[in-house]
Amino acid sequence: MNIIVPVKLVPDLVEELTIDASGTALDTAWLRMIINEFDDHAIEQAILIKERTGAHVTVLSTNVEGVDDLLFTAAAKGADRLIKLNGDFEGGVNNHALARAITDIVKGLQPDLVLTGVQAHNDLDGQIGPLLAGYLEMPYVGCVSGFTMNNGQVIARKEYPGGLLAEMAVRLPAVLGIQAAEQPPRYVAISKIRQIMKSTIIEEQAIATLDSEGGPTIGRMFKPEVSEYAIMIEGDINEICTKLIEVFKEAGVL
């Protein structure tokens, strides 16, 4: 079983986000990047399969700040091969461009299974999986939260609202968009990561062109604006509480 896990880094929301002068993108000056949470689950699911039935796991990601830590951490968890993709990712890259860019690389790795996060918070379009599956001419199932494998096919489990579960059979090779691994992403001790950094090589591959056609063009990026129905209460905690009590009293709920 050859599993390929394409993952990406997204802005870390611990730092406040600011919008750059163009008004269409985040200011990258203070931006810190962190692994997309769903991609972290995709890595965990791949490692679980490896531990359960044996598999070769390759994790690949674009070369932006933080990628080495991400890849070494994946290796410390059990990933066998690490690939970093070099290209011009400075201005961000949409999922159409990314899917086109990694199709040939993923194809060359001859996957039985491609696991990737079902979506990421910096675009919320959930398109990387379906697009990649389309270019690779493989079936795709998204929002997967666990699966079993049986005779060359995967039984993927999806959770629907209202307490319903569905199981669908998918023929391999296939692309699955992971909503949640069967268990939360594991902790890996720092000493293990440090050890891996000394003994593991990150392969590098170049991406020559990025074609973002088909993706959305951002017209305006902005923070939520105060509407006439909202009151933004300002001040220190005591002032805010006092005003809040007044508001509740006015509304007759206190």
Binding site: E15, I34, Q183, R186, Y187, I190, S191
Partner: protein, 400 residues
């Protein structure tokens, strides 16, 4: 007490168990009398499948794998009571509990609450997952301004290692501000590291993440090296313990004092300034890593007695027998996990002792304690009027 809350990965290294005997004073495991003192004094001993004495028996019977299959060691709050009482001087906290946690962490068997704190410490330099850039936000409005060394780049007499909870926790920020007020009043030439400061890593180390501790210590060491100062002070007993006892072993060595030691040295200058009376029966909680581990019992009491109106009373457990607040050894980040197992909180037992002695104020000297004890007061009958104050808060109040 086997739980599904922790993934059980059986890949413990084969050399681990024999390595326990090879650690510092590890041969003393063979001299255990099985007197049971450690298990008796352990605040969670009665709730462990393998309290410390039974752990040692398991080790000597080559059945330590049975111990590792239970949650026992995650109930350990590294309070050092077992190690201190042991007549054979067996290094139970350092050589058994911490080492066992290390082995479990290496195998990936970490309770999820603790996992978040460890991941946050690695990524953001603080266990709460707060922005490193906001580490010095608490100094806003303080006059005279608190110097951040990275900004002002001037030599100072005192580098104040502020620590995580005084930097970020709204309740403990009040303590940080009180200490700033006292240092300013005494005319101390001091500075802080602000965004460059990382968590000291001591509690992460005691929770079994040795590699993370070393990484954090190295980061702090590199920052210390950039600036000129005579000594380090800190209000955090764990930071104090790390800087005094652990950092030197990895080549980071500076004179360090707990803030209560530093202020007690200046008691002659400080005492005449304490004019505001604090009329209260005050009892003092000895933090494990200030008192039991590092022998600092007198200075905090000296400071309290310098405050006019304070009547110092002692709880049933005091000085070396002090009862842990429950925050040590990772307990700070295992609250839900330990509650699930114990349905008891050490902080609540401690509050009951303060109530029993008739104290009005519970004085503390560790940044874990104001939030822990204030929460415990809400859960303890007849504790409603008890007030928790750090010693520096009481001193700042007395300055008027």
């Amino acid at each position: 007490m086997v739980t599904t809350a922790i993934p059980h990965n059986p890949s413990f290294s084969e050399t681990f168990i024999s390595s326990l005997y090879k650690g510092e004073n590890g041969e003393r495991f063979r001299s255990c009398l099985q007197c049971g003192s450690c298990s008796g004094v352990c605040p969670f001993g009665s709730l462990m499948d393998y309290p410390p004495g039974r752990m040692i028996a398991g080790l000597r019977a080559d059945e330590f794998d049975l111990v590792m299959e239970t949650d026992t060691v995650w109930m350990c709050v590294s309070c050092y009571a077992c190690a201190q009482i042991c007549p054979s001087k067996i290094p139970i906290t350092a050589g058994l509990m911490t080492r066992t946690k290390e082995e479990l962490v290496l195998a990936g068997n970490v309770p999820s609450e603790l996992q978040h704190a460890l991941e946050n410490s690695q990524r953001y330099g603080n266990p709460m997952g707060e922005s490193p850039r906001k580490r010095a936000d608490w100094i806003t409005g303080i006059q005279p301004q608190v110097t951040i060394l990275g900004k002002e780049r001037r030599p100072v007499d005192v580098l104040w290692f502020v620590g995580d909870y005084p930097s970020y926790h709204p309740r403990v920020q009040i303590v940080a501000k009180a200490l700033a007020k006292i240092l300013n009043t005494l005319g101390i030439n001091f500075g802080i590291l602000g965004p460059e400061e990382n968590t000291d890593g001591d509690t992460q180390r005691l929770a079994g993440e040795r590699g993370l501790f070393e990484m954090l210590a190295e980061k702090n060491g590199r920052i210390f090296n950039k600036y000129q100062f005579e000594r380090i002070i800190t209000s955090d007993p764990h930071a104090y313990n790390a800087l005094k006892n652990e950092y030197p072993a990895i080549g980071i060595s500076y004179p360090v004092q707990h803030s209560t030691q530093f202020l007690a040295e200046r008691i002659d200058q400080l005492k005449p300034l304490l004019k505001q009376e604090v009329p209260a029966a005050v009892t003092y909680h000895d933090p494990c890593y200030l008192g039991r581990v590092n022998g600092i019992f007198d200075e905090p009491r000296m400071l309290l007695e310098a405050i006019p109106g304070v009547k110092l009373v002692e709880m049933a457990h005091n000085h070396a027998s002090s009862l842990c607040c429950g925050g040590g050894g990772g307990g700070m980040w295992l609250d839900g996990f330990q509650w699930e197992k114990a349905h008891a909180r050490l902080s609540e037992w401690r509050i009951q002792e303060a109530v029993d002695i008739g104290a009005n104020i519970l004085a503390v000297a560790c940044p874990y304690e104001p939030p822990r004890f204030e929460d415990a007061i809400k859960m303890t009958q007849q504790a409603g009027k008890l007030v928790v104050k750090d010693i520096v808060e009481l001193l700042a109040d007395a300055l008027g």
